[in-house]
C-alpha cells in the first residue's frame, strides 16, 4: 500500500480499513492482519501500525483477542456512521474546491443535476 508522506500514516491506515468496511470487503467478525504482518507488508514502522490499531480499538472498530488475532467488531450503525463521516469529508473538500473556483451553492446544485441527467439518474 502506498502512503502519502505528507499526511499522518496512522490515519491513512485507519482510513483504508474504513474504506474496506464501507465497500463490504471486510465484514463483522473478519480477521485482519496482525500489526506485525501489516507493518511487514506495508514496510512501515510497527509503532505506527500499533498506534492505528489502538485507535481503531478505541473507536470500537476492531478487537484484539490474545493468541487469536484482531477482528472486526464494527456494527451496522457504526458502518453507517463511518460512511456518513467519510462522505462529509469528501463533501467538505468538494465544496471548498468549488467555492475557491468561484461557484455558488445554486450553481453547484444545478451542475450536479446536469451530471445526474447525463449519467442517466444515479451513478
Amino acid at each position: 500500500m502506498k502512503f502519502d508522506s505528507s499526511r499522518p500514516i496512522y490515519r491513512q491506515i485507519i482510513d483504508s480499513y474504513k474504506k474496506q468496511l464501507i465497500r463490504g470487503e471486510l465484514k463483522m467478525g473478519d480477521k485482519i492482519l496482525s500489526q506485525r504482518e501489516y507493518a511487514e507488508q506495508a514496510r512501515i514502522n510497527p509503532n505506527t501500525v500499533q498506534r492505528a490499531y489502538r485507535e481503531m480499538e478505541a473507536l470500537q472498530m476492531v478487537e484484539t483477542q490474545r493468541g487469536q488475532g484482531t477482528f472486526i467488531i464494527a456494527t451496522e450503525p457504526m458502518l453507517t456512521e463511518i460512511k456518513l463521516e467519510m462522505a462529509r469529508d469528501v463533501l467538505e473538500y468538494f465544496i471548498g474546491e468549488m467555492k475557491s473556483l468561484g461557484y455558488t451553492y445554486a450553481q453547484i446544485i444545478s451542475m450536479l443535476k446536469e451530471e445526474e441527467k447525463k449519467q442517466g439518474g444515479g451513478f
Binding site: F3, S5, P8, A39, I44, N45, P46, N47, T48, Q50
Partner: protein, 232 residues
C-alpha cells in the same frame, strides 16, 4: 535513552558538533537527518564510543559510551569487516563477543537475505556487503542499533531487502534504532522520531506523525524547507 548534553567536538579547524543537545528516546526508530558534513556520522560514532566529546557528555542509559559497547550494534557507512573472512567466519567472530547473539535468527536471516556463509566478504558485491553488515548487527538482539547511511550507494532491490529486514525484526518498545541518512524519502514511513541536524546543531526535532499532522508536509519537504538557506 541516549542523551547528548551540550556536546562539542572539533576536528582540526572544523567544528563538527556545536553544543549539541538531544535526547534520543528508547524503543523508537529515530531518523537523524541532515546534509553532508552536518555532524551525523560524528554523533553516531560518539554513541558507539569511537570518539569522545571535547566538551559536554554523551550518556547511554546513564553510562558512558565506552562502558556500553555491549549494548550497541554499530553499522558504519564504510566496509569495516575483514575481507578475507567468509560470512560464516565473521559471524563466528562477532558472536564470541556478544551474549545477545541469536543464532537461529542468524541462520534465518542468512536465507532471507540470499546470502551464503561461504561467501568471502572481500569478493562479494556492494549490495551483498551491505546486507552482510546488516545481518551481523540484526542477528544480535542489541538494545541499540546505530546505522550510518545504511542505504547509500545500494541498488533499489537491495534497499528494499534491507528495509524489509529492519521492519520484520524490529522489537518495538524494546529496541532503539537510529538511522542517519541524507536519503530521507527511503525511510520516510519507517521513522517515529526525527532529528534534523545541521552544522553540528539540532535544528528541529519531534515526532514524524505530529509533523505530518501539524504541517501537512512530508519529512522530505520539511527538510528542504529547513535547509534551503544552507544551499545559498
Amino acid at each position: 535513552m541516549i542523551e547528548f548534553k551540550e556536546v562539542s567536538k572539533r576536528f582540526g579547524s572544523t567544528l563538527a558538533l556545536d553544543k549539541l543537545d538531544a535526547n534520543f528516546p528508547t524503543g523508537k526508530i529515530i531518523g537523524l537527518f541532515g546534509p553532508n558534513g552536518a555532524g551525523k556520522s560524528t554523533s553516531i560514532k560518539m554513541i558507539a564510543g569511537l570518539n569522545r566529546p571535547d566538551q559536554g557528555q554523551v550518556l547511554i542509559d546513564g553510562e558512558l559510551p565506552r562502558m556500553s559497547k555491549a549494548q550497541i550494534a554499530y553499522l558504519p557507512e564504510i566496509d569495516h569487516l575483514y575481507p578475507w573472512m567468509t560470512i560464516g567466519q565473521a559471524a563466528g567472530f562477532t558472536r564470541s563477543f556478544y551474549v545477545d547473539w541469536d543464532n537461529d535468527k542468524y541462520h534465518e536471516l542468512l536465507k532471507y537475505l540470499n546470502l551464503n556463509a561461504e561467501m568471502k566478504i572481500g569478493k562479494i558485491s556492494k549490495g551483498q556487503r551491505a546486507k552482510t553488515k546488516l545481518l551481523l548487527t540484526v542477528a544480535r538482539r542489541a538494545p541499540y542499533l546505530l546505522m550510518d547511511e545504511p542505504l547509500s550507494g545500494i541498488d533499489i532491490l537491495t534497499r528494499e531487502e534491507i528495509i524489509n529486514t529492519l521492519v520484520r525484526d524490529y522489537r518495538e518498545g524494546e529496541q532503539t534504532i537510529i538511522i542517519s541518512t541524507h536519503e530521507i524519502a527511503e525511510v520516510e514511513s519507517l521513522v517515529d522520531e526525527v532529528f534534523f541536524i545541521d552544522q553540528g546543531k539540532i535544528m528541529l526535532s519531534g515526532s514524524a506523525e505530529e509533523f505530518r499532522v501539524e504541517r501537512g508536509q512530508s519529512l522530505v519537504e520539511i527538510m528542504k524547507e529547513a535547509f534551503r538557506h544552507v544551499d545559498q
